[in-house]
């Protein structure tokens, strides 16, 4: 067991401590942060923090109150400043003290007319903010709950009776999450897998394998390599997801519009139970490839064959979303290579029956175990074959 840890530690650290790895690890969040940063910068440049003036000729807004907003909002709505005469407001506008001013028609209740005066074009959400301001104050005599509901509008949950499908407007993340996680899974399994294949082929090619297998049992060697390289990928996944959640928390706090985004945490466990065995399964298959092929290029080509089915659900995302209980969708949640992306995706649109989830996860675990067995066997037979690949008959025939 001690040697398993030595192998595991060596495999893990030799990647994680490389500058290349740290660069790859940080480049994605930095890239995303940069994109978001540029977006925020663009929004900031479009944002005018100066107050907006208004001249109330209707008499309804004499004691108007500001619409409450979160104090830590990055883009708080502008203060609405009351002026007693239009001349006064115009003077302020020309001095640049306010960004614009509105005049509220004496017959506002009847005709709803409001005039906007600006020096140039008006930026951002000023019109919406002013509308909100008017609504809020018109409703000031109403109970708080009624006023807020009118301002926020209804939360529409779409429920389809035919497919048990439901979707609330603030649950958009529940569609994005399986898609993003699936994508990260593909990226990470590719990274882990290629590290693993590389580690095996390299040791075969530089003949270190022969020394290592005379020091450690095949099982410990293989397990250490698989777990070590898998954890390299998982480290990346977890760090990227942590950055994602941090970003989300930031957005929920500071960015208007993102404040209503919610994550359904049922997904997290569903993804954990599908992604973990899938990780082990694909990694073991990659290890088998690394041990049985004769060179790194050939191994990479074979490894590509395993990652192809994993991305199939992405191509079929529209039919999967439209009919998440179709035979195709159910079939793809059972097939081990497509299950890790399909199952969480379906769960976003429908209540996946528990028996389907259980079968899918059990199949994944069984396949992971079978893949580990195959990897161990292929490894034992193929590790010292140089320049010659193993045949299927040899792998499944008599023990070597």
């Amino acid at each position: 067991m001690r040697k398993f840890w030595l192998i595991f530690r060596n495999e893990y650290l030799r990647h994680v401590l490389r500058r290349r790895f740290i660069f790859a690890l940080l480049s994605l969040p930095v890239f995303v942060a940069l994109l978001v940063g540029v977006g925020l910068l663009a929004a900031w440049s479009d944002y005018d923090h100066r107050p907006v003036g208004y001249v109330d000729l209707s008499g309804f807004f004499l004691n108007a109150r500001q619409v409450p907003s979160k104090t830590d909002n990055l883009f708080p709505p502008p203060i609405m400043q009351s002026f007693s005469s239009e001349a006064e407001a115009r003077a302020e506008l020309q001095e640049g003290q306010i960004q614009a001013y509105f005049t509220i028609d004496p017959q506002y209740l009847k005709n709803g007319t409001v005039r906007l005066y600006t020096l140039g074009s008006i930026k951002g959400n000023t019109r919406d903010d002013f509308q909100n301001f008017l609504r809020y104050n018109l409703l000031s005599n109403q109970p708080q709950a009624i006023a807020e509901r009118v301002l926020n509008g209804p939360e529409i949950v779409v429920q389809s009776l035919s497919s048990n499908r439901k979707m609330a407007s603030n649950e958009v993340l529940n569609i994005l999450l399986p898609l993003i996680s699936g994508l990260l899974f593909v990226v990470v399994i590719n990274i882990s897998g290629s590290y693993l294949v590389q580690a095996l082929v390299e040791e075969k090619e530089n003949r270190t394998m022969e020394i290592v297998v005379t020091s450690v049992s095949h099982a410990q060697l293989m397990a250490g390599k698989i777990v070590g390289n898998l954890l390299v990928g998982l480290t990346e996944l977890i760090i990227w997801l942590s950055f994602g959640f941090l970003g989300l928390a930031f957005a929920q706090r500071y960015i208007p519009g993102a404040q209503n985004l919610n994550i359904n945490f049922d997904f997290i466990w569903l993804m954990a139970v599908t992604l973990l065995p899938a990780f082990v399964m694909v990694a073991a298959l990659m290890a088998a490839v690394g041990a049985s092929t004769s060179g790194s290029r050939e191994a990479q080509q074979w490894a590509g064959l395993f990652t192809l089915p994993i991305v199939i659900p992405f191509w079929l995302v529209v039919p999967l979303m439209e009919s998440p209980n179709s035979p195709l969708a159910i079939g793809m949640s059972f097939f081990p290579l497509t299950a890790p992306v399909t199952l969480p995706l379906r769960a976003a649109f429908t209540d996946v029956p528990a028996w389907q989830t259980i079968i899918s996860v059990l199949l994944l675990i069984a396949c992971a175990a079978a893949a580990l067995w195959l990897a161990g066997r292929t490894f034992r037979m193929g590790m010292l074959r140089y320049g010659k690949r193993l045949t299927w008959r040899e792998i499944f025939g008599k023990a070597g």
């Binding site: 030595l6 530089n206 003949r207 022969e210 020394i211 005379t214 450690v216 010292l384 023990a399 070597g400």
Partner: protein
Amino acid sequence: MASIEVQKISKTFGTQKAVDAVSFTVEPGEIFGLLGPNGAGKTTTIRIILDIFKPDSGTVAVLGGAMTEEKKNRIGYMPEERGLYQDIPLERCLTYLASLKGLPAPEIHKLINDYLERFDLAAHRKKKIKELSKGMQQKAQLIVTLIHRPDILIIDEPFSGLDPINTQMVKELLVEERNRGVTIMMSTHQMHQVEELCDRLVLIDHGRTVLYGKLNDIRKQFTADAVLVRAENPLPDSLPGVILREPLNGVTRLKLARGAAPQAVLKALVAQNITLEQFEIAVPTLDEIFIRVVQGEASQE
């Protein structure tokens, strides 16, 4: 208890029989030669002993039984195709491979320091393996093989690719290890090294054992059909049992008829008052025996 006991092992890859019912025993504290031409099955035999391959039939006992994880720590193995991680510094490579042999970390550090000093590699410890010269890599490989003070050393072609200085160093090292009580099994086809170092040997060809035993006994098997004579005066025309005479580096090689005794030749020379400077039974070199056996095998096929 024998250090290694190989009993009728056979191994086939595809249609090719790599090892065919090979048996031999390696005794504690000896240097044992595993000889054979290229492709004879030496490396496969070694890999079966080390439990890298399972034999199709036959058994191997190492240190009194089947190979275990604990026993792997007591064996030092140097494969013919030397293998070290090329992309990491020498010291890290040595530390990792030594740790796989079950050595505790503090001890590894001290042992590596000692060996690096001894092999003149101390100044290169931070260099990547691929930046070292071939000779230095050979030395590093030797450190990996020896660092855990194994009870059994198995070395495949210990002298291949070595210059004369390093060859001498390896030879001295092997003798030193033997004197320490280590059992050494080396596979080679450099016969003069075997003559110099080995106590016993097995010669395999086409996967089969063709010679096995003590070096001296094997030589004796192939002697007594010639004598080497150097004399002050010319040799007489007729000598009992001599069927052919040929000059050979200042001596005369007298080939004897089958069954003829060298003693009879000596007796006749003394009787005829020939002043002898040298009279020696012509012992064939291992090279000659090797060629004779292997070619004989080939001609029988």
